[in-house]
Amino acid sequence: METSFALTGKGYVIIAADTTAARSIVKMKVDEDKIKELGTHLLMAYSGEPGDTVQFAEYVERNIRLYQIRNLYPLRPPAAASWIRRSLAQSLRSRNPYSVNLLLGGYDQAENKPNLYWIDYLGSVVEVPFAAHGYGSYFALSLLDRYHDPEAPLEEGLATLKRCLDEVAKRLVVSPSKYMVKVVDKDGVREVEI
């Protein structure tokens, strides 16, 4: 089942999401990228109702790009999170609300620090040191409580993430087989192998 994790560290945010595209009980695909690069220093992992997720993620992507073209500099992560939250809250009160959960991670180039936001389809947004969506969150959050260190270097952060992924593989009945992991820091976004 769909699962995504994210955690911050010293000057970076790591976001991981499973790569399965499933329909009912059938896996349709195992290499789907569910982490969108919204800008040079902004990542968004999305999960939820298939179709809604891609539609909403592309809508967000294009609007954030538009802001950057119009205003010369990109939206900073806190502003992007607020805008996305507002879009979801408006959608929730419409006839067909988007059913999408997000993890938004970015590096704020104005203040030189990483930001991570947990956002759900009800329009909640919380800035957090680590976060998870999906069934994996039931196993991972306690591990992250124990092992997360906001000052940890990237290797330690990835090791903590690995603990979460291993725990989910061990305990969850319908655990995903593969994950995509992306990092955002002062140099921008990149994919890492785990």
Partner: protein, 263 residues
């Protein structure tokens, strides 16, 4: 037929000029001076008040309430931007109202103070519209924006009736702006502090203003700094009593009588 090309705002003259826009700019160079200086830890604005007089009721500005200033030239556009206006006051009021609305819309949408340049751009978009659409008069207003945002820290912008805007280290609009600008050019140094900028602004102001003495009834003054404890910009528009106190501290206050001048 000399007036063939200046009766309407949107018609080019054969030389490719828009006369109404140029007249609007000319109107501003007769208005009260507004002066801005960018420092490394703040921005300073000063303005010359033109509407004064013994019978003018300024009790609104003098007693507590409001945020300082007498509401003629200095306005708080947003918590991170102070605007100083020169030109037709009623046009300025309308633009200030627009600027405040734009800033609050940005705050509502992004939960973040509007970047200074974005605000200046939005006002310029509006002003430019009046140079292109027929039947309307352009805004006879130039504005200095003193602001702070995390992208570029302290900034000083100027916008004119044509819809152009530019960023400055120190600039001046209104009457005698040429004199003031050449003075600023001589005296401005990079890495100037707010305290130095305040005294520079007051010095230049005292030389460019028509009246020989500075006083709170002729001057408006504002400073934007950064509050390190609250982690946010701090805009201060001075009250008349604070301006007088500042002038005393700077040694530019009006003398009590003419006794000194005679001796």
């Amino acid at each position: 037929m000399a007036r063939r090309y200046d009766s309407r705002t949107t018609i080019f003259s054969p030389e490719g000029r828009l006369y109404q826009i140029e007249y609007a700019m000319e109107a501003i160079s007769h208005a009260g001076t507004v002066l801005g200086v960018l420092a490394k830890d703040g921005v300073v604005l000063a303005a010359e008040k033109r509407v004064t007089g013994k019978l003018l009721d300024l009790s609104g500005a003098k007693v507590r309430g409001g945020y300082g200033g007498s509401g003629e030239k200095m306005f708080l556009l947003n918590s991170n931007v102070i605007g100083g206006v020169a030109g037709i006051t009623s046009d300025a009021n309308s633009l200030v109202n627009y600027a405040r609305t734009v800033a609050q819309q940005h705050l509502l949408q992004y939960n973040d103070d509007i970047p200074v340049e974005v605000l200046a751009q939005r006002l310029c978009d509006l002003k430019q519209g009046y140079t292109q659409y027929g039947g309307l008069r352009p805004f006879g207003v130039s504005i200095l924006y003193a602001g702070y945002d995390p992208h570029y820290q302290f900034q000083l912008y100027h916008s004119d009736p044509s819809g152009n805007y530019s960023g400055w280290k120190a600039t001046c609009i209104g009457a005698n702006n040429g004199t003031a600008q050449s003075l600023l050019k001589q005296e401005y140094k990079d890495d100037i502090s707010v305290e130095q900028a305040i005294s520079l602004v007051l010095r230049v102001m005292s030389k460019t203003m028509d009246s020989p003495t500075l006083g709170s009834e002729k001057l408006e003054f504002a400073v934007l700094t950064y509050d390190e404890t609250a982690k946010q910009p701090k805009a201060k528009i001075y009250r008349p009593s604070e301006i007088d106190a500042l002038l005393v501290a700077e040694g530019l206050a009006k003398k009590d009588d003419d006794a000194e001048m005679k001796s």
